[in-house]
Every structure is written in structure tokens, then in C-alpha cells.
């Protein structure tokens, strides 16, 4: 309980400190908004089909950007060392950093969803599943951001590395084109990426689309990604700390 409380303090401090950092505003907020507006003004009716993808992409960019900024910025100014000095388990630090990044991603995503849904005339068919999908995806993407940024020194390096994963994911995970219409062997790559299951799950909840797999399986796979990425992040985080400190 004590460790959860300390994770909360870490997350609270991160959200209060980093949410106005320029790289976070440009990559975590501006980019998804620009995409949403561009699609909306191009075709206000046709945007409906890509709304699940846009929501998923918003979550991906906001969560990973926050995680990357928090880790690299604190490493650069030596503040991460302060956390390592405090009587905290490494998992508490990791959980706190993930929590802060996920909450930031969720807030941005919810704001964009609230803005999009009434304008386009969509409804959330399964609110509970919708919530679970964005929560699990937000955690998975934050962990991905931590995993990417833990090995680099500068914020711009973290952003470049993140984009190396994020941009291919936009094209491979059904954000704009359905995975089923992609030529072989691209769908194999799609099935290895968490965003595919975020978008697929959101399609179930927002479009009554049957998706490529059942909604329950999307949720289960996303949970699997969270567990896998958490284990991997914890392992890499501990390893990097041993190497760098």
C-alpha cells in the first residue's frame, strides 16, 4: 500500500511538472489534434470510419511522448538519481512513471473522444470495454515509451526512437487502412503490435464492426501486452540502472 502511495506521488509530480514541456505539446497533443482536424475537414462524414484509429493513435502518441520525456529529462538533469536514492523499489518507480504517462494519455484521449463523438454522431456501444481498452492500451503504450527512452540520453533521441516505432504502427495497425486489406506479409507484423488490438477493440465499441478478432480477445491480448511490456521494462530498467549508475 505504501509503495502504491509513493507511485501515486511520483505520477502526480510528473503530471504537474512535465505536461507543458514543448516536445510533449508538439508530439503528444498537437500531432493527434492536427490529424483529427485534417480528417474532419477533408471529409466530415467519412471520418467516422477512422475515428477508432484516430483515438488509438492519440493514445499512442500522448502516452509514449509523456513516458519518453519523463525518463530522458530526469536522466539528463540527474533527478532520476533522486528516485533511486529514495527508499523505493524499482518496480514502484516504474509503476509511478507508467501511471503518470498513462493518465496523461488517457486525459488527452478522453478529451478528443468527447469532442469527436457528438460531432460525428457516434455512440459508445460497450462503455466498460471501451474504458478497459483505453486503460490497457494507455499502460501498454507508456511502458513502450519507457522501454524506448530508458536507453537514450536526450529528449530528441527518445522522440526519434519513439517515431521509429510509432509511424510504422500507424500504417500497420489499422488506423487508416484495415489490416485485412494489407498485402502479405504485412498483417503478420500488424498482429505483433499492440495498437492493432486497440484499434480493433475500439472498432467493436464505436462502429459495431466485427473487427478482425472478438472484442474479448482484443482485451485479453492487450492485457498480455501490458504484462509482457511491464516485465520487459522492469528488466531493462534495472539493467540500465546497473550500467549507468
Amino acid at each position: 500500500m505504501d509503495e502504491i502511495k509513493k507511485s501515486y506521488f511520483i505520477a502526480k509530480k510528473d503530471m504537474g511538472t512535465y505536461y507543458l514541456k514543448p516536445p510533449l505539446i508538439s508530439w503528444g497533443l498537437m500531432l493527434p489534434i492536427v490529424f483529427v482536424l485534417a480528417f474532419y475537414f477533408r471529409n466530415p462524414i467519412g471520418i467516422k470510419d477512422v475515428v477508432p484509429g484516430l483515438i488509438g493513435m492519440t493514445l499512442l502518441f500522448s502516452s509514449t511522448s509523456m513516458a519518453a520525456i519523463v525518463i530522458t529529462f530526469e536522466k539528463r538533469i540527474g533527478a532520476l538519481e533522486r528516485l533511486l536514492l529514495a527508499p523505493l523499489e524499482i518496480r514502484t518507480i516504474l509503476f509511478g512513471k507508467t501511471l503518470g504517462s498513462s493518465v496523461f494519455g488517457l486525459v488527452i484521449t478522453i478529451v478528443i473522444t468527447i469532442f469527436l463523438i457528438p460531432i460525428i454522431g457516434l455512440s459508445i456501444n460497450y462503455p466498460f470495454s471501451f474504458s478497459l481498452i483505453i486503460i490497457l492500451s494507455g499502460i501498454a503504450f507508456s511502458l513502450l515509451g519507457i522501454l524506448i527512452s530508458v536507453g537514450v540520453k536526450e529528449v530528441f533521441e527518445a522522440m526519434t526512437m519513439s517515431n521509429f516505432f510509432r509511424f510504422p504502427m500507424i500504417f500497420l495497425c489499422g488506423v487508416f487502412f484495415p489490416v485485412s486489406s494489407m498485402p502479405f506479409p504485412l498483417p503478420i507484423l500488424s498482429y505483433l503490435l499492440p495498437l492493432t488490438y486497440t484499434v480493433d477493440g475500439l472498432k467493436h465499441c464505436l462502429l459495431e464492426d466485427k473487427g478482425i478478432i472478438p472484442l474479448s480477445l482484443d482485451l485479453l491480448i492487450l492485457l498480455g501486452f501490458v504484462i509482457l511490456l511491464y516485465g520487459l521494462s522492469l528488466f531493462i530498467f534495472k539493467k540500465r540502472i546497473r550500467q549507468e549508475f
Binding site: F9, I10, G78, E81, P87, L88, F245
Partner: protein
Amino acid sequence: MKNDNVIGVNDLTKSYGPILAVDHISFDVKEGEIFGFLGPNGAGKTTTIRMMVGLTQPSSGTALVDGHDILKEPVEVKRTIGLVPETSNLYSELTALDNLIYQAELYGVPRKERKNRGFHLIEEFGLKEHQDKTFQALSRGLKRRLTIAAALVHNPKILFLDEPTTGLDVMSARGLRKLILDSKKKGLTIFLTTHYIPEAESLCDRIAIIVKGKIRIIDTPENIKAQVKETEILEIGLDRITEDLKNKLLFMEGIEKILIAENRIRFQTKSIDQVTPHIIKRIEEQGAKIKSINTLSPSLEDAFVTLTGLDSELMKIDKPVKGGPE
């Protein structure tokens, strides 16, 4: 580890590939004392401190800090200690007070006490008028004060200070030394590293001199000075010191070492009466004018030079300032 010892270091070693940064060191620190690690930059002081506080994994050996093994109980060790790293690394966007409150949260200080402790430390460290300024807006001296205050927010038993006054102006350094002595009076055990010999002499109850990862001697400043008590010091003030004069004086018989600071030369010798006339003659031959001449008892600096064989000028070199907030 004896009962009154709060730190017991046993055969601690750290190597980075082929480089041995800390070479099988052992020592104890007694409760309530200020224990100093004195050595030039690169001697292994910071590596030792980082191993003792659980930030760096030792290659071999171990240490007990307040009865907790640094390898087996790192979290317990961290609960007992406060560390002030060489670089003041609090959160630049948080205010002075918020930084203290955040540290209190991380160290599990009860909610009701957090603010009070923060205010108390702000007051104690003379930061009242700066409490609402962000960390990045503070001067280097104030950042240092706040970083020490942050290390004390959870009432630790032992305070580790890594080069506490490096890079500070004379007044800030003096103020900080007073704060360190005041903390000792309140019962805190302090482990500090420094490369300033006068700082170690004025603050520390006991000093370990460390060179190239090895401890050369551990004792009180008085006892370390006594190691060279048969040595006498002749200090001569001159109007100028030329390279030629320096070379002529360096290899004189009966002189163990010479130290040159500005226009003063200190000669270490065991036969002051015999060598003094020869030194004066040499100086006059070189056309330099003698402004003052004194005999002195050996200082810690003289003892350091004799015991380590290092030039004390080496100790005056500060490390290059790293990036990030100071």
C-alpha cells in the same frame, strides 16, 4: 563493526573493466562523528559513497550502514541515510518548498508532518525568502543548501555529503560548513568527501586519505599531522619566484619537499638549522628578495604531501562542472 560504529565497510572494491576505481577498502564510521574522505579528483571518493548508499553495485566486498547490508537491504539503507550528491539535482520546475514536500512524500513522512518539516528546514537553512522560487531560479549556493535540506527531510541517522562546497563562493562555503557542524551537534553522523584539505581539517573528527582507490591512512587530523612531527617547515616569502630559482631549490640536500604557493615557498626538512643558511644563500644568489621568514608546525597539507607523495596543488583542482542544474 563495533557497537558505536554506524558504518562498517569491509573490503569494498569497484572496478570498471581493467580500471580499479576503489581497491579493497575497509573502515568504520562512529556514531555522531564527521568522517572525511580526503583525496584528489579521481581517487575513488564518489564511487565509494555511491556504493555505500546503494547507487552503484560493488564488484566485491560489502558494507553495513546502520546495521543494514548495502547489498541485501538497499531499501532499508536508503531509509536511514540522506545523500547530497556532488551535483545539486532537485526538480528544477518545483519550488524550494515543493521539492522538500515531494522528498518527504517519497520517504514516507506522515502527511500531517510533511509541510511542517518543509517549513522547518526552509527556516533552518535560511531559505525563507526563497521558498516559493523554483529550484532553477536559485543561486548555486542556495541550491546546495536546499539539496542538503532535502536530504534531511526524513530525519536520517547518517548524512552523506559528496564534495559539499565544490564550486561555491567563499561566503556560501563558509555558511554551509557551519550548517554541517550544526547538524553534527544535533547528533547526526556525517560522512563527507572533499578534495579541500583545510575543509577536511576544519570539519572532520577523523579523516581517511584516499589515493588511486586505496586508503593510505585513517586517523584524526591531529594524529595525521603527528605522523610528520619530526618534520619542520620553513616558510619564506619572496618578492618573486623564477623557474630558475625553483629548480635551484628543488634538489638541495636536506630538503624533503617544497611547496610553492604564490610568492611563498614552504620547505619540509628534518634539519632546519643546517639547511636554512644554504637556502637563504641560494635565494640571494638568484637575486630574489626575502620578504618574510617563518618556521611553522606541519599542517595537514604538509602531512598529506608527505604521506601521499602528491603535490597539494593537485587537490585544488575542481572537477569540470557537469551539465544539468547545479
